[in-house]
């Protein structure tokens, strides 16, 4: 126990940094916890200090984010705790208690306010062969380049529906990797159609679109095939990945297949605490419902960034600012009109950024691309090795399970170390397909991250 913090921030990405900057400037005691050893979040996942990297994450996209990161790392009043996994959040009469674990065992902290800015993770999409070593999420591949200076293979195929894969492919290429192909499941016309529904929107210089276009041009210049309407159906290989196979029969030899279908909020802690959530229609997963100061349905508990719905770093950091201003307002350090005055320009920017984020989400909609991909022998729950066929048998059994949590109990799907993060959206979709009500997903259980039992007993 280390006293009562004014604010505990879970997650050291752009949202958490932005909140920390404002809260520390107002003199609050702030602690920030993150599983990574260094601050940055996934977007700015930093290399270890021992690796000197020249020209790390160049370009205008990262410039402002890096400036904020450097300011946040230099904050005097910030108690930074890297390499720490937050396992649970427990509302208390005067604040919240956090239970966390790190290399030195468990930590219990208390804070009057908690902000969960835990980011998102790549949507795990099940298809035949997806458990082969070499099939990875695109974000995972990107993190190897960004933070580890590792090109995690020699010949890469990127496949999915999300334009981020263009950026990852371009970063791979620049790091000297061979990119055999970048395949989008949707047609170019379908993507353009989404843009044309709101034709003036992309002219407003949104970074994600400019970056994707620049990466596309780089890849084309470098001779990397970028194709549309190419739906991934299978990964082939025995002990490790050997090729990616597409719906038209095309097979491309590769030792890494990076899939990129979108992102799900890291929302376990909030679900566990009992916050009101909303379902993400396109990708599955759940996002926290928040009010105009980023407060969840639980007093003292806020959420910002991808945890409230995946919309990118530019939205995240502004939500982090709003959350911190809200904390100052609730502590009486700002008057209502002062808080509204500081929030007004942020809210205006958020309005237009959110429209771009919505457009990107529509373009990247994975539902059509992934429908029917898994066959009955495909593992949906990677932790407990539960196949789609086994789940269908469990659903179809007399008086079959009514919702995801009931199905978990009879099938073990969702019972493993990932706490259902990998399979929940697929299990819910399968239940819906079979006429059952998927409900609110698996009941979120402690701990949000795996921990040795010995660490919990003191």
């Amino acid at each position: 126990m280390s006293g009562m913090f004014d604010l505990a921030i879970v997650g050291g990405g752009p949202a958490g940094q932005a909140a920390a900057e404002i809260a520390c400037a107002a003199g609050l005691s702030v602690v920030m916890l993150d599983e990574q050893p260094r601050m940055g979040g996934q977007i700015l996942r930093q290399p270890p200090r021992s690796l000197k990297v020249r020209d790390w994450l160049p370009g205008v996209t990262y410039r402002d984010l890096k400036a904020q990161l450097h300011r946040a790392e230099a904050l005097d009043g910030l108690d930074w705790r890297g390499g720490v996994s937050v396992l649970g959040l427990f509302p208390r009469p005067d604040g919240l208690r956090l239970l966390a674990s790190g290399r030195d065992g468990r930590q219990i902290l208390e804070a009057r306010h908690v902000l969960v800015a835990a980011g998102c993770y790549d949507m795990p999409v099940a298809f035949p062969g997806w458990t082969l070593p070499g099939v990875m999420s695109a974000g995972g591949v990107q993190a190897f380049i960004k933070s580890q200076q590792i090109v995690p293979g020699s010949r890469f195929v990127l496949s999915g529906t999300h334009p981020l894969q263009l950026l990852v492919a371009d970063q791979l290429r620049k790091a000297g990797a061979e990119v055999a192909a970048v395949h989008f499941a949707q047609s170019m016309a379908a993507m353009a159609g989404q843009v044309l529904r709101d034709p003036l929107l992309p002219l407003g210089h949104p970074r994600p679109f400019r970056d994707a276009a620049a990466a596309f041009a780089n890849l084309r210049r470098a001779g990397v095939p970028v194709r549309f309407g190419q739906r991934l159906v299978r990964a082939r290989g025995s002990e490790r990945l050997e090729a990616a196979e597409f719906a038209d029969g095309t097979t491309i030899a590769c030792d890494v297949l990076a899939t990129c279908y979108g992102f799900l909020p890291q929302a376990d802690l909030l679900r566990q605490a009992g916050c009101a959530m909303q379902r993400c229609a396109r990708t599955g997963g759940f996002a926290a419902k928040v009010d105009r100061w980023q407060c969840t349905s639980i007093a003292g508990l806020g959420a910002a960034g991808e945890t409230t719905g995946v919309a990118g770093a530019e939205v995240a950091l502004r939500e982090g600012r709003l959350a911190a201003i809200g904390v100052l307002l609730s502590d009486g350090l700002l008057s209502e009109s002062e808080a509204e005055g500081r929030a007004a320009p942020i809210r205006r920017e958020l309005g237009s950024l959110q429209r771009f984020a919505d457009l990107l989400a529509r373009i990247a909609d994975p539902r059509e691309a992934i429908a029917g991909l898994a066959d009955d022998a495909t593992i949906l729950c990677r932790c407990e090795d539960v196949t789609r066929g086994a789940l269908i048998r469990a659903i179809s059994a007399t008086a079959g399970p009514e919702d995801a949590s009931a199905l978990k109990l009879v099938s073990r799907a969702g019972m493993g170390v990932c706490q259902g993060r990998s399979c929940e959206h697929a299990v819910r979709a399968l239940l819906a397909e079979h006429g059952a009500a998927p409900g609110s997903g698996f009941t979120a259980r402690f701990p949000a991250r795996p921990v040795a039992i010995a660490d919990l007993i003191d």
Binding site: P37, P133, G134, S137, Q148, D385
Partner: protein
């Protein structure tokens, strides 16, 4: 085959993976050292099929390995989140 992109770093260290010496860079994550040593298989599933890295951000748990460092008991840890240390002993599976 994975490979490291040139960067300035202190001298490499040795770790033991299933009894064999593997060269690692101080500060890098265990998962990186395993991939750079061309060891993409981290475990076998219930059917004996090979499994490896998947999310690389602590979320999926596919990279669990048994890790022992001098002076500490062996633990099951996510290789994507654990920096290598000299004398680290790792068992896959």
């Amino acid at each position: 085959m994975s490979r490291r992109v040139a960067s300035q770093h202190p001298g490499p260290i040795l770790i033991l993976v299933d009894g064999a010496e593997v060269i690692a860079l101080p500060g890098e994550m265990l998962a990186s050292a395993l991939l750079a040593a061309d060891k993409p298989v981290f475990r076998n599933d219930l059917e004996g099929k090979a499994r490896g890295m998947f999310c690389n951000m602590g979320t999926c748990g596919e990279c669990f390995v048994t890790v022992e460092v001098p002076g500490r008991p062996a633990r099951r840890l996510r290789a994507c989140l654990i920096p290598v240390e000299p004398g680290m002993k790792v068992q896959r599976g």
